[in-house]
């Protein structure tokens, strides 16, 4: 009996072992499916943006599969994504990336949400030489580490608000301006800050307030009191959605008059909805806006994408969704050009990417960042209590004129 039991156990282990090794060597392409993996924040503090990212991925997978899928060596394949919830936790994200690669045998990865989590995953994908196309990690430090398998469809963080400084200088007759800035102490916001420092140097502008906001802080009264005292030409704030909402609340309450206010994360914070007229004239950096005139054959235009997305998920797509959809278009294009499932061939094809999507032009620089797409700026404008975001820069896509300077609070109704 004992012997039989032992034999049985050995037999079962052998089969399991065989199955495991079988799935891990072939799981990258199973039957007619190309399997991609992604750790994504479905719970925890990034969960709303995590869901936007996932919706963007799913929307593109459906669309590509419906329109014929991916053609490699004359055969049609469909995309499929394995998701795991990383709980908005970098350590967990890195573990899940390992699991996707080692246990599920995934050979191609899609990025998570946020720079911090992408930073946690990139060393793992790099170690196993897994190409990763990511759409939500903009931190500059991702692109200076010499990663060879990391590709980002979005513009790096330091470019977010540089345009705003250029705009301020232009309005000042080409002379340097006085800048007051407040940035949260996280990877992304600090990169935005570096971009402003570069722009200030380039334009001969002077930074007169340079505050770093602790992550736990939801009170900017001290910074704003200083701004009131020194009267800068432009105030720059970046601290994710909390920063944007806190800034508008306290600027309006403390009646801080600045000619120009530039921020990030206005659309993610639903600024115009939550603060209404108080947020008017705020200038916001964005990766994408539906009114831009880029086109592709899968989603048509940005407007068409927004309409389809609205129909599918019931809300207007934030740029986090649009860029996530674009990541899959990039993968499809790379697979077809590589005409192979070899990881290095796909990686080389990704390096040579040069394409237009509804989200923007995509071409990867030496660090893996997208160098073909400029950032855009929109300004919150209101009619009565109805506020919306209108593109004001760069001029090529501007639907409206940039309103400058912001009227004083005493003159605003």
């Amino acid at each position: 009996m004992n012997k039989i039991a032992k034999l049985f156990v050995t037999f079962i282990s052998a089969i399991t072992l065989a199955l495991v090794s079988f799935t891990s060597s072939f799981a990258k392409v199973e039957g007619e499916y190309i399997v991609l993996g992604s750790a994504i924040s479905l719970t925890g503090k990034y969960s709303s943006n995590g869901v936007h990212t996932q919706n963007g991925y799913n929307m593109a997978v459906d669309r590509i599969n419906k329109m014929g899928g991916v053609e490699v060596q004359g055969k049609k394949y469909k995309f499929e994504i394995i998701y795991y919830d990383d709980e908005s936790n970098p350590k967990r994200a890195a573990q899940l990336a390992e699991r996707l690669i080692k246990q599920d045998g995934v050979h191609y990865m899609l990025g998570p949400y946020s720079s911090g989590l992408t930073k946690a995953i990139a060393p793992v994908t790099e170690k196993y030489k897994i190409p990763m196309v990511e759409a939500n990690g903009a931190s500059r430090s991702l692109f200076t580490k010499g990663y060879k398998y990391l590709f980002a469809v979005l513009s790096p963080a330091n470019q977010y608000l540089e345009v705003a400084i250029d705009l301020a200088v232009e309005k000042n007759g080409g002379k340097g301006v006085k800048i007051a800035q407040a940035f949260e102490q996280d990877a992304f916001s600090q990169d935005v800050r570096l971009g402003i420092l570069d722009a200030a140097k380039r334009t001969g502008s002077e930074i007169i307030i340079d505050d770093k906001l602790p992550k736990e802080l939801n009170d900017m009264a001290a910074t704003l009191a200083k701004v009131k005292a020194v009267k800068p030409d432009v105030l720059v704030v970046s601290g994710h959605t909390k920063g944007a909402l806190t800034a508008i609340r306290q600027i309006s309450e403390m009646k801080v008059d600045v000619p120009m206010l530039a921020m990030t994360h206005c659309d993610a914070a639903k600024l115009s909805k939550q603060h209404g007229k108080k947020s008017e004239f705020a200038l916001c950096a964005s990766q994408w806006h539906k009114n831009l005139s880029y086109k592709d054959k899968f989603f048509g235009s940005g407007k068409k994408y927004a309409k389809d997305f609205q129909k599918e998920f019931g809300y207007d797509p934030p740029y986090q969704s649009a860029e996530s959809s674009a990541a899959l278009l990039v993968f499809k294009d790379a697979f077809e050009r590589a005409n192979s499932f070899d990881r290095d061939a796909v990686r080389d094809a990704l390096v040579d990417t040069e394409m237009q999507t509804f989200y923007g032009n995509i071409k990867f620089g030496p660090g893996g960042q997208n160098v073909a797409k400029p950032m855009i700026l929109f300004q919150v404008r209101c009619k009565g209590d109805d506020c919306e975001n209108r593109v004001v820069a760069p001029t090529k896509w501007a639907s409206d004129k940039f309103y400058h300077p912001i009227p004083k609070w005493s003159e605003r109704s």
């Binding site: 925890g44 009170d219 009191a225």
Partner: protein, 297 residues
């Protein structure tokens, strides 16, 4: 280092007023913590999360079209029952145990609350609008949001009401008796179980008020509870248990200290300065205690 504040006297006034108004709100949260710490010997790590939950209740009624200021009445009522239920479910099992167990238990509650709030209200940062406007002083160079003045006023009002309640009512006397000596109170016929539940409920209600005030003065997010726990912990450490005037003074002191640290050391050291102060105070207390012990010897 930045000494802008010493060049502009108006900034000094602004910083002081901001600090005091903020400090009064902290003091309210700390008062709740001191109360249940004193009575039940429990350090509640979930204190900040109860505050945020209270804020979300105010935010919900705001979404229904009711002015969020009503939250200072509705939120504590709901939160009292939340506290009561929480006591019956979890806290009563740890109340007579080691302090460490209670820290673990409330830490667990904090995590559960964060995830639940994230699940119910979403991970977006939200604000409720009071539309109270602004008070401008000294020719518009010092501005005070009326919502902050309102929140300080409500905090003081509730604190006074609670002190009177503790002195005059039967339950209040029972709570104070239990705080002094639980066993003796029990022998003399006080239902300590009920007293504990009520104390935890009152603490949650105080958090509910503070949360409603935060929803109209600052911002809400499921994961910003911890800084409120830390601040109230610190205020209680400085003030000692069962000493309301000291809690109020130490709350305002902390508010002032934070604002001035922001101006003088820089915003990035604001929270760090609070922690440094906490360490210094703990070291000082220990030093004082050891002296006392030597004297006793």
């Amino acid at each position: 280092m930045d000494f802008l504040i010493f060049k502009a006297p108006m900034l000094m006034i602004q910083a002081s007023l901001d600090g005091i108004l903020l400090g009064i709100l902290f003091a309210l949260i700390a008062y709740g913590m001191a109360l249940q710490w004193g009575v039940m010997n429990i350090i509640n790590i979930a204190q900040g999360d109860l505050v945020i939950l209270g804020g979300y209740i105010a935010y919900t009624i705001y979404l229904w079209g009711i002015h969020p200021a009503w939250g200072v009445i509705i939120s504590p009522i709901i939160m009292f029952f939340v506290g009561w239920v929480l006591y019956k479910l979890v806290i009563n099992k740890v109340v007579d145990r080691d302090l460490f167990i209670s820290i673990l238990a409330t830490f667990g509650i904090a995590i559960v609350f964060q995830q639940l709030m994230n699940f119910i209200f979403g991970a977006d940062v939200v604000v409720a609008q009071s539309e109270y406007g602004t008070t401008m002083l000294f020719d518009n160079s010092v501005t005070l949001p009326n919502s902050k003045i309102f929140s300080a006023f409500i905090s003081v009002l509730y604190a006074i009401a609670l002190v009177i309640y503790m002195r005059k009512s039967k339950l209040g006397r029972a709570i104070r008796a239990t705080a002094q000596n639980a066993r003796a109170a029990k022998i003399l016929g006080v239902d300590t179980e009920k007293v504990y539940a009520a104390t935890f409920g009152i603490n949650a209600a105080l958090c509910g008020i503070a949360g409603a005030l935060i929803s109209i003065t600052l911002t809400l997010h499921p994961y910003v509870g911890l800084p409120y726990t830390v601040r109230s912990f610190m205020i209680v450490i400085v003030a000692g248990l069962g000493n309301l005037p000291a809690v109020a003074v130490s709350g305002m002191g902390l508010g002032l200290f934070e604002e001035f640290a922001d101006y003088i050391l820089g915003t990035e050291f604001r929270i760090g300065a609070v922690f440094l102060l906490l360490v210094l105070i703990l070291v000082y207390r220990r030093f004082k205690l050891s002296k006392k012990r030597e004297y006793l010897k």
